[in-house]
Amino acid sequence: MKETESYQEYTQKNRTLIPWHRRDFFKLIGGGLYVFFQVGNPFKIFGAEADQRRTLSDDYNAFLRIAENGEVSCLTGKIEMGQGIITSLPQMLADELDVPVNRVKMIMGDTDLCPYDRGTFGSLTTRSFSHPMRKAAAEARAVLLKMAAEKLKTPVGQLKVEDGVIFIKNRENKKVSYGELTKGQKINKFLDIKPDYKDYSEFKIMGKPFLHSDAIIKVKGEAKYGADIRLPGMLYASILRPPSHGATLFSSDVSEAEKMEGVRVVKKGDFIAVLHEHPEKAQQALQKIKAEYTFDEKEVNEKSVFKYLLDSNPEGKVVKSEGDILTGKKLSSEIFESEFHDGYVAHATMEPHAAVATIEEDKVTAWVSTQTPFPAQESIAKELGLPLENVRVIATFVGGGFGGKSPHRQAVEAARLASITGKPVMVAWDRKEEFFYDTFRPAAVVKISSGVDKEGNIKLWDYQQYFAGNRGSDTIYDVPNQRTTGYSAHGVQPFGTGAWRAPGNNTNTFARESQIDIMASKAGIDPVEFRLKNLKDPRMLAVVEALKEKTGWKPQISPSGNGYGIACGFDAGSYVAHMAEVKVDIQTGHVQVIRVFCAQEMGFCVNPEGAKIQIEGCITMGMGYALTEDVEFTGGDIKTENFDTYNIPTFSWIPKIETYILDRNEPPQGGGEPAIICMGGVIANAIFDATGGRLYQMPMTTERVLEAIEKAH
C-alpha cells in the first residue's frame, strides 16, 4: 500500500486480493505478529460487553498486526466520520508499542478484516474499544521484548524500546527491530485478561495534540466517500420514492422510462428503480415514471406534534426515584411548573447516504458510507438470503454521521439492485431523499415540577420526559426528593426517528438547565452560585468552578441585561459546563451568539487538539438546533427538502469559541458529543439574561424570541 493511499483505494485497486472467507485473512494480510481476541469476550473486563453483540470467534479477530517491515496495522470495525479516531487510535497504539505514530496504519470498518463491532456511535470508541486495543498493544510489546531477549541473549529487564527498535541498555549497538523479529513468522498471540498497559505518566504521544492524519488526502480531494467509488460497468440507480411515509403505491407506469436509451428499469412490487451508467440520465428516467399512491392521512404537523405526542397514551417508566415527592413539595417554599418543547431535528450531514454493491458468484462486496459496517453486512445477507460470510462490507470515509448513518438502507438497496441486475450498482441519495429517510431527533415534551426552600436549596425535582429518550434525563443536582420518568410508545412518530449526536441529552439538558435558571432567578441567586450550591458530584463541581474562574464570571442576578447564560451537564462519561454571551435584537428577535466558553472534563484526554476541535464542532452545530433547525411536515409528508428551508449554522453565526479541558488521569471518556448538550440551555438562559424573555421551546426562532420578550414585559 502506498503511503498516501487510503485503505479503500487500496482494496479497490486490488480487488483480486479480496478474500471471500475470513479464513483467507492471513493470505491477504501476510505474516507477522498478531494479537487476537481471546475466546470469550475481552470487552467484559472493561464493563463494556454491551457494545458487542456477536460472539467473537478467536481465529481471525485480530486487533493489531506487526508486519515484517515493522509497520503496525490497527484493525478496527470502527469508522472515521470526522470525529478523529483515525488520528487518536494510532496515538494510543504507538504509545503502548513505542513506535512512531506514522508507522501505524489504520484498517477500519472492513467486515472481512476487522474484529466484529456493533458500530461507531455513543462516543464509545475511546471509552470502550480503546481499552482492549491498548491491552493488545501492550501484549504485543511484551511478546516482542521476550523474543528480543532470546535473540540478544539478554534478560528483558536490560532492554529498552525506542521507535520500534529494541536495544540493550547502555549497549546501543546491540539491537533488533520489531520488523526483524517478526520476519518470516506467523505468531499468533491471544489476549489474556489483566490489563497492564502504561501509566498516564509514561505517555509520550497520548495527551499531545496531533493534527488530523487524514487531512492531506482530504484537502487533495482524494479521500473516497460512499459516492466516490467507481467500479467497471457500474450503474447509477434512482429509486422511486413515495410522496410521504405511510403512502402505498397504487398504480405505476414505467413505459416512458423504458424507452430511454441505456436505461434499465427494475420493478419488483412497489420497489421501482431506474439505472443508467450516467446518474443524470437515471434521474431523468425517474421523472418519466407515473405513479399513484393511496395515503395514510395523518394531520399532525410541526406545530401540533406536542399535543399529538402527549395524547398518544405513552407508557411511563420511572427511571430514578429518591425520597418522596410530597415531602419535597412540603419542604419547598416555592414550586415551579414548566413544560418544554423540542421539535424534530435532521442530521443533515453534508454527505448524503451512498453505497456501491457488486456481486460475483453469490459473494457480495459493498462499499458503504456507514457508521455500522457489521450490522450493514447482516442486513444485506438477510435481504439477499445469503450466509453472512458471503457478504463483505467495507466502510468508506463517512462525510458526517452524528447517528444519521447508523441506519444503512442505501446499502441494502444497492445490494438488492446489484443482485437483480447482475451489475455493480451505486445508490447515492439526493438531498430530498436524505431528508425523507433521515431518522430525525425526535420531537419531545418535558414537564418539570421543582421546588426550592428559602435558602435556595432544591428540595423537589419531578421530571417527566416524553419521547426525548432517557439519556441525560437523570438530574445532575443533589435533590433529596426526586423522580425521573420516561414516557414513550411505539409507532407514534409519523416517520423515522433515531439517535442524533448525544441522543436525548440535548432535549433533557435544555429543559433541566432552563428550569434551574428559572429557579435561580426567582430565588435571587447568581446562576453559577445556584448551581454550585446544589451540585454534589465533585467532577461536575470542578467543571463549573473552572468555568467560573476561566471566564472571570461576575455574579449577577438574571435578567441582568448582560446577555450571559450558563448551563452544565454530563454525557458519555464526560462533564461539561458552558457560558454563552448573546446579543438579542429586540426588534427582529434575532439572536447573535457572541462568545461561547466550554469547560470539559473527559478523563485523560488522548488528543487535546482533536478534543478541542470536537468541542468547537459541538458548539457550532448546537447553535443550529437551539435557534433555527426544525423539520416541517404534514403527517408522513416531509416538507423540508433542502437547505433553503433547513437552516444550519453558517460563517456569520460563529461566536468566539474558547475551550478549556481539565486534566485528569482517569480512563479517557467520550469527546464527540458532550459539548453539544448544553447549547439549548445556555442560549435560552443567555436570552433570558439579556431580555427577561424565557424560551420554553426549541428551536428559539425569531418569532418565539419576540413572543417571549413580549410576555415578559
Binding site: 488530523h212 487531512a215 492531506i216 487533495k220 453534508m350 454527505e351 470515509f397 439526493d430
Partner: protein, 160 residues
Amino acid sequence: MEEKIKFELNGKQVEVKLEKNQTLLWVLRTQFNLTGTKYGCGDGYCGVCTVLMDNDAVRSCGIYMEDVGGTKIVTIEGLAKNGELHPVQKAFVENDALQCGYCTPGMIMNVVGLLKSNPEPTRQDIIDGMEDNLCRCGAHTRIIDAVESASKEMKAIPQQ
C-alpha cells in the same frame, strides 16, 4: 442531442461528447472520475460542488455544459502543483480546518476564488465570502483562520 465540447480542465485541453444540458458536476464526477468535487444539495445551497471557472468560484451543480465550452475549469485535484500543496490546501491542513472533510474541497475552491478577487480579505470579508458554503461538522472557526494564514502566505510568495 450529443455535442462536442472543448474546455481546459486542470491545465489540460479536453474534449467530451455529451448533451448540453448535462451539468458540470456530474460530468466531472463520472466522465472524468474527478470525485473530489462533491454533491451536497444539487441546488446551489451548500457549495460542496465549488470549482473554479475562469478563476471565479462557481457551483458546478448549476453549470450546464453548454456554458463550459472554451472556459478554464480547475477542480480540487488540479490545485497542487508538482506534488506541492497549494497554500490554501496547506493552510487547511495546518489549521486543522476540517473534520469529516466532505465540505473541504468546495471550501478550498471557494477560498482560492475569494483570494483571487480579494487577496487580503478582512475577517468580515472572509465571513461574507464563505457564508454560503455549508459545513455540518462546525469547522468554521478554523476555516476562517486558514483563510487568514493562506492570504498572508500567498502575499509573501506571490502565486501564479
